[in-house]
Symmetry: C2
Subunit: 260 residues, 2 copies
Amino acid sequence: MTSYMRITIIGSGNVATHLAAAFKNGGHSIVQVYSRDMHNASLLAYHVKAEAIDSLEQINPETDLFVIAVKDDAIEAIASILAKYQKLIVHTSGATDLQVLLKRTQNAGVFYPLQTFSKTKEVNFDTVPLCIEGANEQITSQLNELAYAITQNVYRINSAERKTLHLAAVFACNFTNYLYYLSQQLLADQKLPFDLLRPLILETAEKVQEHLPASVQTGPAVRNDEKTMNAHLQLLHENPELQQLYKLLSQGIIKMDKQG
Amino acid sequence: MTSYMRITIIGSGNVATHLAAAFKNGGHSIVQVYSRDMHNASLLAYHVKAEAIDSLEQINPETDLFVIAVKDDAIEAIASILAKYQKLIVHTSGATDLQVLLKRTQNAGVFYPLQTFSKTKEVNFDTVPLCIEGANEQITSQLNELAYAITQNVYRINSAERKTLHLAAVFACNFTNYLYYLSQQLLADQKLPFDLLRPLILETAEKVQEHLPASVQTGPAVRNDEKTMNAHLQLLHENPELQQLYKLLSQGIIKMDKQG
């Protein structure tokens, strides 16, 4: 196999969209884009100069790689249909074991980009960590080559490690965004604009780009400043769920290992 | 009063350090820097070409403004000592009512920079929101002028609003950093590098610079993906505190108002 690949994209969501564009920019060709929704398939296919299809019966077997970027629950069913083409199949899911594909084909791997994608925001793929896993060393090394064409951050991560990684990403991204939401709601209740907090949010994320989080922890809990914490709990007296969250997070910070 | 001010800095911590530099850069002169620790006072005083003192008896009354940037608990005691000079006194605390100064002097205000500062990291003050409050309109307008010399983001925030703002900042910054810490610990347990998550953390913060958090929420909870959430809880089975936190945050996300 040469470094040039013909790639078929299964899915038209955020991951499918960003990966397809990155492969195309990396010099590969996108053969087809499949989506159950022809409109979505066409939108993405147009951008990457591929054919749009909305039925897996229309699959063009002249491809080197199927990239399954669909909801986790649908991965296995799609793999079982694609297996007959005897081409390399990868999924892009942080939460799904390679084993799910291995039940259907040995020519399988994982190509998991560890980033949060929105269709409306460009992502610079250079800095996106790509976590790869192959059913054997030859596949891993193919995926390695493919990954390095679109980013400098390539990690070989097995399925057990990827589970932990996906869980950690939920804390670092999904739960963090929910804390942003709670802070925005607290401000909105007082008719204060969220712009007040945006620079703080960005700086907090930028700080841990160079440091470990434990070494830059600030706030009343890390100082064990009970007066301020009690005042905050009092402010939340009409919201017992937020009080409980405040206590749980503060207790964690008080006990955290400052050495990181 | 002209726009040029002679300013005395009480304190030598992160807020004192960054404000003193910003005032100096804004064309004001720093008269003295006070710290109980002469070494810290001297370090900061050297940078802003001021006199270092470690006793409040050495205060030079030839100043226009005292900026009290010390621990919340020490603000009132220091204000009571400085009040006799009959100069404008401000504190820089998000959690402290203006009332604490008004007990000692009517010539009082608040100058609260809403940012997380580390001594080792430069902060571009242009983007730091400054929240000001004066005991009367003349003071508010003085502080307004002073604030606009160092940032374009000036907000008039009263003491009640500032309490909420400070609480919201704890969620958006301190608690968020603790989630970063938890994610880093989960990776460290598997000997995985924190670098895997750093781009995700930055992108998550960048997304809410343009959008409201509710509109960019991702992850298993917002999809109500019980299979993934149960797998995550299983992974955390040796850590009941993290399980509790995971459940509480996920339940919150499931119930959140997607309209933000």
